[in-house]
Every structure is written in C-alpha cells, then in structure tokens.
C-alpha cells in the first residue's frame, strides 16, 4: 500500500476503530466491575453476551420487536439472572482462591454454551433489520447508523454506571466493598447482597452489549469466548475496575485492531493481544493507573 492510499483511508479507519471500540468497551465494562469488586475473572461473561444476543434475535424474529427496544428488558432480565447466579452459586465459593471461582465461572460458561447449542443449534444467525447497513457520509467517511448508535449507547451506559457508582448509596456501597471489605462490613454494608448486585450489574452490561453485538456481528452459541478474551485485554489495558479505564481500553483496542487490520491483516489478532503483554510489562496498573476501588 502506498502512503497516499494509506492516508486516504485513515479517517474511515478511525471511525471504524471508534465504533468497534465502543461496543467492546461495553462488553469489558461488566467484566471489569465484577473483576474489580468481587475479584472474580468471570468467564461466564461471554455467555451472558451470547444469551442476550439470542434474546434480541428471538424478540426480533418472533415478535418483530426492534433490537434497540430489547436493550432495557434484556438488561433487567440479566440483572436478575446474574443476581441469582451470584447469590446461590458463586457466593458459595466466594472466599476460595481465585482459581476456584475462575473454574466455577468457566463451568457456568460451558453449561450456558451447551444449553444454547442444544436449544438453538449451531447455526449462524444475525439480526437484519430494515435499517441494517444503512448509514450516512461525512465527506468520504461512511458512518453506519447501527454502529454509531451502538457507540453512543455504550458511552451513555458507561456514563450512567459512573454516576451510579459515585452518586448513589448502593453505588457507594459497591465501591466501599471494593476498597476495604472489612471496613465496609463494619459500616453495615451487606456484603452478600452487594456482591450479588454487582454481579447482576455485570450481567446487565453484558446483556446490553449482547444486543448491540447481535445487530452487527453473527450470533452463535460459542461467540462469547472471543469477547471474554478481548474484555480481559481491555480491562488490563485501561486499568482494573475503572469505568473510564474500560472505555479508554476498549477504544484503544478497537483502534489497534482496525489499524493492524489495514496494515498487516494476518497478524491483526496477534498485534491486538501483544498490547496485553506490552502493557503488563510497561504499566501493569493499566493506562489510567489507580483503580477506583483502592
């Protein structure tokens, strides 16, 4: 590729990177808060994304409900689902070493993926609405409506989460538990309930991301694993347990993925994940440094 050719596609690539990064931020946000507060590397996160994508798919194909309208109900349902799973399953081993909770969520993921495989089959599906793929131009740069909306919704939800954590009683309780569990307990914070709420929020964020992903990518029972992996990198990139960190990490990941795809497509994933190694060596606390729970 000549320099001119490259320069001519830079603006479009920046837009592509922002839109990809926005959705990835939202996926990583739920992963980040659960990891930051509960100290669980939640491998079931990708399965929530997948199940929610199916939810939006069936609401759309079965009842003709626009996927954007499925976001709120999906978040509510998965909040309750996540709450119950934490309260009655994960909570039993919450004091165990990291490896045990890690394996437990791994097991949950396997169950969800296989139930989905059994119920929905391995077919590739995608939500194709009347406005899928339609967009507008800014100069030469194409902006598809769905992806723009996904970026805005992701930022909106991230902003709302930030406000919730800093301005509400429950939010403060969550942060308190993250900062010092014993002190929080002494102050009357109900640890079990706070954990369950946090996990529910993580699942709700995954659900919101799942709907958006279902609209622009393909839906299969095993789609979640790839998002777990990306969330992991994004969280490490941006800094653990930080809302702005997850958003920034997601946007950086999106940019790197897109520009690597332009320049060296065959090594696209390798480069994106090489960032993980680089950040761990150079700045192990993540780009935004101190996490909000410390």
């Amino acid at each position: 590729m000549t320099l001119d050719q490259f320069l001519s596609i830079v603006p479009q690539s920046i837009v592509n990177g922002l839109m990809l990064g926005g959705t990835l931020s939202l996926v990583a946000l739920g992963f980040s808060i659960v990891w930051g507060i509960l100290n669980i590397i939640n491998l079931a996160h990708g399965a929530f994304v997948m199940l929610s994508a199916y939810f939006a798919y069936f609401m759309f194909t079965g009842f003709g409900i626009d996927p954007f309208l499925s976001i709120a109900p999906a978040m509510l349902i998965f909040f309750v689902f996540g709450y119950v799973i934490q309260r009655y399953i994960i909570n039993n081993v919450i004091r165990a070493p990291l490896l045990v909770t890690f394996l437990l969520t791994f097991g949950l993921e396997i169950i969800f993926v296989n139930v989905a495989l059994n119920r929905f089959g391995g077919d590739y599906r995608s939500i194709t609405t009347a406005y899928s793929g339609i967009g507008f131009f800014i100069g030469d740069v194409r902006v598809p409506y769905i992806k723009l909306a996904a970026l805005l919704i992701s930022l909106l939800i991230a902003g709302a989460l930030h406000l919730f954590l800093s301005r509400t009683r429950t939010g403060n309780a969550i942060r308190a538990v993250g900062m010092d569990i014993d002190a929080a307990k002494l102050c009357g914070v109900k640890i079990g309930q706070t954990y369950a709420i946090t996990y529910g929020i993580g699942a709700a964020l995954a659900a919101a991301a799942g709907v958006l992903i279902g609209m622009s990518f393909t839906i299969t029972p095993d789609m979640g694993g790839a998002f777990n992996l990306r969330s992991f990198v994004i969280v490490v990139l941006g800094g653990l347990g930080s809302v702005p960190g997850a958003v920034l990490g997601g946007l950086i990941f999106g940019m790197v993925d897109v520009f690597a795809g332009v320049l060296v497509p065959g090594l696209k994933d390798a480069i994106a994940f090489a960032m993980l190694v680089l950040v761990l060596i150079v700045r192990p606390q993540g780009i935004l440094g101190k996490a909000f729970y410390k």
Binding site: Q12, V113, D123, P144, R230, P265, G266, K268
Partner: protein, 437 residues
C-alpha cells in the same frame, strides 16, 4: 478438589472439541428445478441393462468404508452413507456390475469412525485385514480421508474418496487414492470464469481469506486462475479465523475499487464480509464465496442483502448433466434419492454415489475386481456422470470437473447459474451498488 478440577478440565476439553467442529454444511438447492429428463443420443444404455435375475449373480464385490455416523460430522457422514447405499442398491437392481461376462452384486461394509481421523485409519485397516473387503470407499472429511488413504496405500487397495477436497491428500505421491471432487483450488474458479464470460471488461479482483489451510488453498487457486486470465489481483490478504471484525480489510478494499470480491473462509466470515461491506458501502460487480451461500443460514441471516451473491458448489440438483451411468441426470438422481430417503440429496450424497459409480466403470473396464487392475483402470477412467466429468489427474484428483456456481437471486431463491451449458438460470449481473438496492 483435584477430581473436581479434572472433571472441569474434561468438560472444557469436551466443549473445545464441540466448538471446534465445523458447522454442518448443507447444500440445499432450489426445489423448483425443472430439469426435464433429457435424453441424448450420446447416452449409452446403462451398464447391465440386460437384467439378469438376482440369483444369477456370480458373486459379491464388497466395498469397505469408515463413515462418521456419530461425532462432529455425523450429519455429513449420514449423507455420505446414504449416497453409497443408494448407488449400491440402484446398481444391483439394474443387474449388478459386469466383470467379463459375469454379473456381480455389490455390497457395502462400513464402520462408524466417530468423526475421528485416527479411528478412520484403524477401521480402514480392519476392513482390509479382517473383513477382507475388495475395494475401499472414503470416509467423510479431509482429516479422516488424509489418514485412511495412508492405510489404503500401505495395503495397495484403491480408495475412491468423495468427501475430502484438501490438496494435501493428493500431494504425497500416493498411487491408490482417487478423489472425485473438484479440489479446493478450483472452488472459486467457476465464479471468476463466469464473471469473465459475462463481462470482458473486468480487471481487478480482491481476495479475502481466512488463515487456515483449506481457505488459503482456495484463495491461492483463485489468485492463480485470475492472473492466468490477465486479471489483476489488487488485494489478497488473510485474516485470523477467529476475527470478529473485517471492516479494516474492507476499508482498504474499498479504496482499490475491485470489480470482483472473493471471500474464502467460513460461513461466519462470509456473513461478516457482506454485512460490513454494506456498512461501509463497499461495492463490486460480482461477489463470490467458497463457503456460505450454499447454506440456508446465509439467506436467513442476510435477507435481501444476500441477493446477487455467488457461491461455489461441487454439485447441485439443478445441474443438467446427462451422464453415462445408472443415474444419468441430477434430476433422476434426485427422484431416486428422495424416493428412498425423503429428503433432497445434498452434494455429499451425490459425490458419494458418484464414487460407487466410478468403481463400477473401473471394474467393468478392467474386467476384474483385482485391486491392482481396478487401480490401473481408475487411473485411465474418463466419463461423464450425473455428477459431472470423472477423470483423475496423475495425482489421482478430479481436476476436470468444473465447480458449479450458485447465485442467490432477487426472487429470493438460489439458482445454479454456471457452467453455462448445464445451468438452470442466467446469472444476475452486475450486482447494483448498496445504495441502489
């Protein structure tokens, strides 16, 4: 605790295996294919037209085959076995196979290889040494075929395989392996051939390939063919098979304004290429994919956006071949198949039946079912069947049969549009730009 961890690990491994399984590819061709029974003067009477009574068979020729009836490719394995069974039955009903002046009955001995390549090889050995089958048919899939052919070679028993298209099966100098499918490198050739014949002005081709052996083989074959026809391959890049986003590659492709965009990968990638091309308003006169358009999910997922897209196909029920074999035409094959199994024959069944037909021709030409004599006859074989031309190159692969091309047309149906002389519909070309649809 340790047992719990190991149980989880086992579960994990199981899931990995399940999720690595290739998606069940079905090739359901349009049902409205008119394909009236064409009778041609060139057609000879089918073998054994003088039907001897069943009890007059001089003996039985047994084919051995490991077939995946369970495991990851259990559906495809069933299609394969149904194809073998139907051909054996139809040939027997028509009087069997003529060896010299005697007629022999055909039989099939099979084992379930559980979709496992190593098991497939072991069962092949068992079929040869314990069951003493006369000749071998292939398992389903490139992996099992790769392993089973090693055993066939070791015991010098021919294996005519119908379900492994990877070139590396045939690049080992084996003398006893024969593949009746078009090899991977030809998968997208039909699309290019057709595009050139429709529009002599096309110049530029862009190729996107998943980074796995088979997809790269297909992409390389397409590139070589395009360049041999004087086209310029302006973009030829591979992406990681696990990728979730192809927009970056497509942004580069857009800047190069190709006339033809080819995708060699998996269904998921094909869906992604189409969706993200529409997102980014990337346009081409012709779109072709090696895998994807043949599956019903392609249309289900993309709706109207699937219109105009071409896909390579080994065989479709709508082709108008007039073959010199017991089945004669794809239409007649479909009728016989549906009468026995009540579902439309997928290409896996057709190619499997064609493998049996191929043996019949070779045995009759050799006048013997001695493995070495059949092998030599197979190497010299050249005939047209309901499945297309069957002729092997010096490596034992059928590079002579053209790939068919199917197109998802604006009437919402899938039509076979190439090769022109055996197609059922005209291609819709060029594809309009996304904003004109």
């Amino acid at each position: 605790m340790r047992t719990r961890i190991s149980v989880l690990m086992l579960l994990a491994i199981a899931v990995l295996m399940v999720s690595c399984a290739p998606p069940a590819a079905t090739n359901v061709a349009p049902t409205q294919a008119p394909a009236a029974q064409v009778t041609s003067a060139a057609t000879k009477a089918p073998a054994g037209a003088t039907v001897p009574a069943a009890q007059n068979f001089a003996g039985t020729i047994t084919f051995g085959a490991p077939v995946s009836l369970t495991g990851a490719t259990n559906n495809e394995g069933k299609y394969t076995k149904d194809g073998y069974d139907l051909a054996v039955e139809v040939i027997n009903n028509a009087g069997g196979v003529k060896v010299g002046d005697k007629f022999y009955k055909l039989a099939l001995k099979f084992y379930d290889d559980e979709s496992n390549a190593d098991t497939s090889a072991k069962l092949t050995e068992k079929l040869i040494t314990e069951d003493k089958v006369n000749l071998l048919l292939g398992p389903y899939g490139s992996g099992p075929t790769l392993n089973a052919t090693v055993i066939a070679e070791k015991y010098k028993v021919p294996m005519v395989e119908a379900n492994g298209a990877a070139e590396n099966i045939f690049n080992r100098g084996f003398k006893y392996s024969f593949g009746i499918l078009s090899p991977g490198k030809n998968y997208l050739r039909g699309v290019l051939e057709m595009a050139i014949s429709l529009d002599p002005n096309i110049k530029n081709v862009a190729i996107l390939a998943a980074n796995d052996n088979f997809s790269l083989e297909v992409a390389d074959g397409a590139k070589q063919y395009a360049e041999s026809k004087g086209l310029k391959v302006v973009y030829n890049e591979k992406y990681p098979p696990t990728t979730k986003d192809i927009s970056s590659l497509l942004t580069v492709v857009k800047g190069l304004s190709p006339d033809v965009i080819l995708g060699s990968g998996h269904l998921q990638d094909a869906l992604l290429v189409v969706k993200q091309s529409k997102d980014l308003n990337v346009n081409a006169k012709a779109w072709g994919f090696s895998v994807g358009p043949a599956t019903p999910e392609f249309r289900d997922s993309l709706k109207k956006d699937a219109d105009y897209i071409f896909g390579g196909a080994q065989w479709t029920v709508a082709l108008k071949y007039n073959g010199n074999d017991v089945f004669k035409t794809p239409d007649n094959y479909t009728k016989l198949f549906m009468a026995k199994y009540s579902y439309e024959p997928p290409y896996q069944s057709a190619e499997s039946s064609a493998a049996v037909i191929t043996y019949q021709k070779a045995i009759e030409a050799a006048g013997s079912f001695d493995p070495d004599k059949v092998r030599d006859a197979l190497a010299k074989l050249d005939f047209v069947s309901f499945y297309g031309q069957i002729k092997f190159d010096e490596r034992g692969i059928n590079t002579f049969k053209p790939m068919a091309v199917e197109q998802l047309q604006t009437d919402g149906k899938k039509h076979t549009v190439w090769p022109a002389d055996v197609a059922e519909a005209k291609p819709q070309y060029p594809a309009p730009t996304w904003d004109k649809r």
